[in-house]
């Protein structure tokens, strides 16, 4: 299960709304206690995918990941996952998402329609490289 404070969750949804009709993305910083994951902060990052294709693509470049790792270290946190939005598409991973997904990370996907976040769901990649839904607890 992944726990997210309500204000942090609001930032994730707002990020998707602000980037609409493009995809917004960022990283989840927090702590992991066994199967319990707690998001403490989000790091909103630029979608580095080529312009013109950001309506259905996002990318976080390795240089941004390096900086994010440093930031997480400073805060005594870990990068525990990724969030991104699906403009006008369901809050579930696409095949494109699955092919590029990393294990262990939580992937929170937010469906955004007409600039309004409709739904957010969290997913984890299994060892068989398929996605399974993770319970998302907003508190």
């Amino acid at each position: 299960m992944i726990h997210i404070p309500v204000d942090v969750f609001a930032q994730i949804q707002k990020n998707g709304e602000e980037h609409y009709p493009e995809e917004g993305a960022g990283l989840l910083l927090g702590k992991v206690h066994g199967e319990k994951r707690i998001v403490e902060q989000v790091l909103q990052l630029q979608n580095r995918f080529q312009p013109g294709a950001r309506h259905n693509r996002y990318m976080i470049e390795p240089q941004d990941m390096l900086l994010a790792e440093e930031k997480a270290d400073e805060l005594g946190l870990e990068i525990i996952g990724v969030f991104h939005s699906h403009p006008d598409h369901p809050a579930q991973p696409s095949e494109y998402d699955r092919e590029r997904a990393l294990p262990w990370y939580s992937y929170i996907i937010t469906k955004v329609t007409d600039q309004s976040a409709i739904e957010s769901r969290s997913w984890r990649l299994t060892d068989e490289r398929t996605f399974t839904e993770e319970q998302l607890q907003i508190e």
Binding site: P62, L66, D88
Partner: protein
């Protein structure tokens, strides 16, 4: 000794290690060395062709080795290597919808229904096999099996094309699926089980009818469900604007 930093998502596959000390002379040798030590890392670092996965980046002292000599980059004592993932994804797969002539598909369905009804009425089991063979040929050629009838109807101006943006693969799968059911029906006739044979034949008639008259392709829906559970032979996702299997709106 060179220190290799492992990113958090890969640590569970390296006994939870954050850093690993390695004694090798190139980036490639170090990657191979850690895979030998921690075999569970392999599927997450290398693809099926044993190349680094596209999202795996290796940094040597904060510089991407791709800007150096790639995996052949030499590594000195006290160098710091880092595996850094890049993150990518997006709401749809690489699907760009093709142009599919739904008039050809509907002609195909009408021919299947008509010929199978004739087979049932006159008890002509070989016609069931014939329809199955034509459907299988169509599946192999990635065209509706009765495309030749459609072309004749086009020449005679009896029917007009109806080109719609759609995925052709699910229709091909549905056609192949129907063909296999008809082969099963013919096998049942051969095994002296006409009841089973005709039930299977009627399954194809009804599914083709549901597609022709109600605009719902059950075989396509099955294809999209198989895609959703991640089976590799079913790469096409259902277009997001419609229930999987329903006929797309006209452009």
């Amino acid at each position: 000794m060179t220190t290799l930093k492992i990113p958090s998502p890969l640590r569970p596959y390296a006994d939870g290690m954050k850093e690993i000390e390695v004694e090798s002379e190139s980036v490639n040798a170090i990657i191979r060395e850690i895979i030998t030590r921690y075999p569970a890392l392999k599927p997450h670092l290398l693809d099926e062709s044993e190349n680094l996965r596209s999202y795996v980046n290796v940094f040597l002292n904060d510089e991407d080795v791709r800007t150096m000599q790639g995996l052949d980059t030499r590594v000195e004592q006290d160098d710091h290597l880092m595996i850094v993932p890049s993150i990518a994804g997006g709401s749809t797969s690489n699907n760009t919808l093709a142009k599919v002539d739904h008039a050809a598909l509907r002609t195909n369905q009408a021919m299947i229904i008509g010929l199978l009804l004739v087979a049932f009425v006159v008890d002509l089991t070989s016609l069931t096999l014939g329809v199955g063979i034509i459907m299988m040929i169509g599946t192999i050629l990635a065209k509706p099996g009765f495309i030749f009838i459609y072309r004749l109807l086009r020449q005679w101006n009896v029917i007009s094309p109806e080109i719609i943006s759609d995925n052709p693969e699910p229709h091909r799968f549905a056609n192949g699926f129907g063909s296999i059911v008809l082969f099963g029906a013919y096998l049942a006739f051969g095994l002296n089980s006409p009841l089973v044979g005709w039930i299977l034949t009627w399954v194809v008639i009804i599914l083709a009818g549901v597609n022709l008259f109600l605009g719902f392709c059950v075989g396509c829906a099955l294809y999209y469900w198989l895609n959703r559970i991640g089976l590799p032979l079913f790469p096409r996702e259902a277009p997001a604007d419609r229930f999987p299997g329903t006929r797309p709106p006209k452009a």
